[in-house]
């Protein structure tokens, strides 16, 4: 009968992973809508194509080699179904033995397939961050080529050092140095932003974005309801992103932890939205919707590194600070002519770093885990150096070999025609 309790625990934890995974998968739609809403009509079909394709590529590449690199288990996930057991019966026995050993309050025991499913959608998130930053000027196929490398190699390597606790090239182990990143402010968001930054630097700004006189020209997004929808989708999906990262639901402690994560994630996002709205109002005298959306996302990214230990008040404060940071960061990047149409580098990179650095405040280093400022710095540096460096190399090779930027005419005409031969809104705009 105790066995049946373990079986229920196994089933509940597996279900929890699957539902959280489905919510994170949903974030792919969120990024697509956000980016489709913030680019010009003439570049919309192409950004949509990129988003659908990058999600698909991430899923396949991680399945083929990525998961194996990050956690082992063989390419093509061979044997994920039976996990070495001879048959389903034997598997149940093995699982029950594992559960008994772990103990009811111990580490979660759940389906490997559900673990993969929950992990794979994180890879896609990291890649989604890139597409927004390089939008409206990068060639479709060069972008997809990069996606193959990032999702199949760059991210999995970095993931193995962090969430899988392997030593960085056998040199040092981040966990031992007091690095902790609960759901991936650094491992996913800063990583994605680092890859994006490398691409943007090699790509250059959109034509007409920066005037000769150094003034910044506005390039308004074509469809703000879409962008708002995308933000709400991301907000919802984030409950799975952070909530699932507790990695266990089915005991009182874990359930409480998951609930706190939902609460804090929502509070940080709300605070980020409000502070960005108010701060932008003070700066610009107007209620800037796009900044408000970025503010909500900034709150989410900031809390992601540690959503379980802050009090609701702390989560609110962290989110509010993130909302201010993201506005300043977006303005700063424009000052230095780094053109990021959707603000991805600010939201996921700058705020991702902020998120890592505030972990020690609520989860200081102790015997049983936690984070230290130095540890967070080293971790952030490791992630940035690795992802930025390798990405820069890959972008560079792509630039030399097949080129990464569309021609000036293509950019003027819009990449929808040149890359996809199809308009996103054929009846609403004048060809």
């Amino acid at each position: 009968m105790e066995q049946n309790i373990f079986q229920l625990q196994y089933a509940l934890d597996t279900f929890y992973f699957l539902i959280c995974g489905a919510l994170v998968m949903w974030m792919a739609a969120g990024f697509s809508m956000l980016e489709a809403g913030l680019v010009r009509a003439k570049n919309t079909t192409e950004i949509l194509t990129k988003n659908v394709a990058l999600y698909a590529i991430a899923c396949i590449m991680y399945l083929v080699v990525g998961y194996d690199i990050m956690y082992g288990g063989g390419i093509f996930l061979d044997g994920i179904a039976l996990d070495g057991a001879s048959d389903a019966e034997a598997l149940v026995g093995a699982v029950l033995a594992e559960s008994a050993e772990a103990g009811f309050d111990g580490d979660a025991v759940y389906s490997n397939a559900s673990d993969f499913f929950f992990q794979v959608v994180f890879v896609a998130t990291a890649m989604s961050i890139v597409s927004g930053a390089v939008a409206e000027r990068m060639r479709l196929w060069s972008f997809l080529a990069f996606a193959v490398v990032l999702t199949g190699f760059i991210y999995p390597m970095e993931g193995s050092w962090t969430w899988n606790g392997e030593a960085v090239f056998g040199l040092y182990t981040l966990g031992d140095l007091g690095f902790s990143d609960f759901a991936g402010s650094g491992i996913v968001h800063l990583a994605g932003a680092s890859a994006a930054l490398a691409g943007v630097l090699l790509l250059g700004a959109r034509k007409g974005k920066y005037g000769v006189d150094g003034r910044v020209n506005a390039i308004p997004g074509a469809n703000l309801p879409m962008a708002t929808l995308g933000t709400f989708i991301l907000w919802m999906g984030w409950f799975g992103f952070n909530g699932g990262s507790v990695l266990k639901l089915a005991d009182i402690n874990s359930a409480n932890s998951v609930a706190m994560v939902f609460l804090n994630t929502n509070a940080a996002a709300a605070a980020g939205a409000i502070s960005a709205l108010v701060f932008a109002k003070i700066l610009f005298k107007k209620a800037d919707l796009t900044m408000t959306l970025n503010g909500a996302l900034a709150g989410l990214v900031a809390i992601t590194a540690e959503p379980s230990t802050p009090t609701p008040l702390q989560a609110t404060v962290f989110g509010a600070i993130a909302g201010v940071i993201v506005v300043l960061s977006i303005l700063a990047f424009d000052k230095v002519k780094i053109d990021d149409p959707v603000g991805a580098i600010s939201v996921h990179g700058v705020v991702g770093l902020f998120g890592l650095m505030i972990v020690p405040i609520t989860n200081p280093l102790t015997a049983d885990g936690g984070a230290s400022f130095s540890g967070q710095l080293i971790g952030a540096a490791t992630i940035f150096v690795w992802v930025f460096g390798t990405s820069f190399a890959v972008w560079y090779v792509l630039k030399k070999v097949i080129g990464i930027r569309v021609t000036e005419e293509e950019e003027y005409e819009g990449v929808d025609i040149s890359d996809c031969g199809m308009e996103a809104y054929p009846e609403f705009t004048r060809g």
């Binding site: 910044v216 506005a218 308004p220 610009f284 800037d288 796009t290 977006i330 303005l331 424009d334």
Partner: protein
Amino acid sequence: MKLINVIIKPFKLDDVREAISEIGVEGITVSEVKGFGRQKGHTELYRGAEYQVDFLPKVKLEIAVNDEIVERLVETITKAAYTGKIGDGKIFVYNLEQAVRIRTGEQDSEAL
């Protein structure tokens, strides 16, 4: 015959249409245009970058009529489109040499 070309503020379209149909003009061709002139546009803001939207939405009316009613028509339009604020628009009059109604092939005055 003359062709009267009128540029007005969009929200005046209905008033003008009614006014001129009252004096018996049955047909008009209307198009949306952007105007530049003394009236200045507004500034918009996007993610911290300000920009000047200096064209103004206007509506253009093309009305072909017989010479005799041109004067009255111009008066009528001037009244109907008037707000007194800058940007009220213009009336331009050209000479129209020939007019044809496609449906009937009728020419000139009969075509209007």
